[in-house]
Assembly symmetry: C2
Homo-oligomer: 224 residues x 2
């Protein structure tokens, strides 16, 4: 182990020296928990540098492992991105359900949801982009479990829309599905304009989201 090794590879001679002063005296050939490390580091990279600056090689390097090691834990880059996106859905789901449990008034509940949805989207913009962007859904291919997670999140949203319609917060002139789709599209569009860098001045956001809430709610008898 802690020794000088000499390998003969055809025409090259390599010498590996294991320095006993290195951080850990135990030199693990196996990383131990590479899957998790990869996901954590990948999250950090996309948070700090954007999703287009995440490369498998850079990631492997950051974790301190050879460039092909990640491929024993994820089929390919797309698979890794799918897992990140899936985690995003679970986080978002948790957020939503905890909000619903708070048992706010319907009015406040929806307002809070809009703000929470938008702040999640902007604060985790790179994850949001994976969850709802073309990188996976169009350029790549969503994993089955990702499809499942997104479907469940959507279903949960539609159920809630149905309740909000019952309380005359959202429009009642169509099915929960259609109202859910269009309402979500509106929020998504607002989020995307900021996430994609079309709008930069985030001081406008609060006014825009306030107005969006008015747009979405003012179909009901009780105006906001």
């Amino acid at each position: 182990m802690d020794s000088v090794k000499i390998e003969f590879n055809f025409d090259t001679v390599k010498i590996k020296v294991f320095n006993p002063l290195m951080k850990s005296s135990k030199q693990h050939y196996h990383h131990g928990n590479l899957t998790k490390s990869l996901l954590d580091s990948a999250s950090q990279i996309i948070r700090e540098e954007g999703v287009e600056n995440l490369s498998m090689r850079k990631l492997a390097d950051k974790v301190g492992v050879s460039r092909t090691a990640p491929y024993h834990h994820f089929k390919d880059k797309n698979a890794l991105l799918c897992v990140l996106a899936e985690k995003g859905f679970h986080d978002q789901q948790k957020m939503l359900t905890s909000l619903i449990k708070q048992n706010l008034s319907a009015q406040d509940g929806f307002k809070q949801y809009v703000h929470l949805y938008l702040s999640y989207a902007l604060e985790h913009s790179e994850i949001y982009d994976l969850m709802y962007g073309r990188a996976i859904w169009k350029a790549g291919y969503p994993s089955e479990s990702l499809k499942e997670a997104s479907k469940q999140t959507f279903k949960c949203w539609i159920d809630w829309v149905s309740k909000l319609q019952g309380q005359h917060i959202l429009a009642t002139n169509n099915t929960p599905l259609r109202i859910g789709q269009t309402t979500w599209a509106s929020l998504h569009g607002l989020a995307r304009l900021f996430i994609d860098g079309i709008y930069l001045d985030k001081t406008d956001l609060s006014q825009m989201s306030e107005q969006m809430i008015k747009n979405l709610c003012s179909h009901s008898s009780t105006r906001v």
Copy 2:
């Protein structure tokens, strides 16, 4: 010209044979109109294969020119994408102004606009993605003329929103800017969900856009 040429390049010998049966007997060293050819071919590639499958090398190859030739016409890939996006804005602008000139009733005019906006977005989804996506605005950098084009398109939209507010088609509870921003965000969001592959079934689109129109218009006294 129409001859066998022998070049001695250090250690390689290349023989170019100009076949007189080729389409054009004149063999141009200069392409002639490479800028336009590049833009046309690039449009075709992104239309057929998506924006992520456009590479400078593939493009050069398609046009029949060496891989670095395009760099004499566009500073870099970003610059080429900017020109494509800018053309998109001009097209869209033309579309909008021709619709306004038709002098439809305000109600019909807006409805038509929504349908036109969405059909443009979906039919030219890759160009739309360049115009309003992160590839240029976040991952890349918009050219000055692109910024100008987008600003002008937006200004034109806000002016029209103002008129629609005057005719009580759109909500009047905020400035044209805010109403314009949120209304646009809603349309944009709907477009993106289809463009990015989140929604695939386009038979739903017409119902969704109908409902979106209702959402956006029903603030006024005259319901749709």
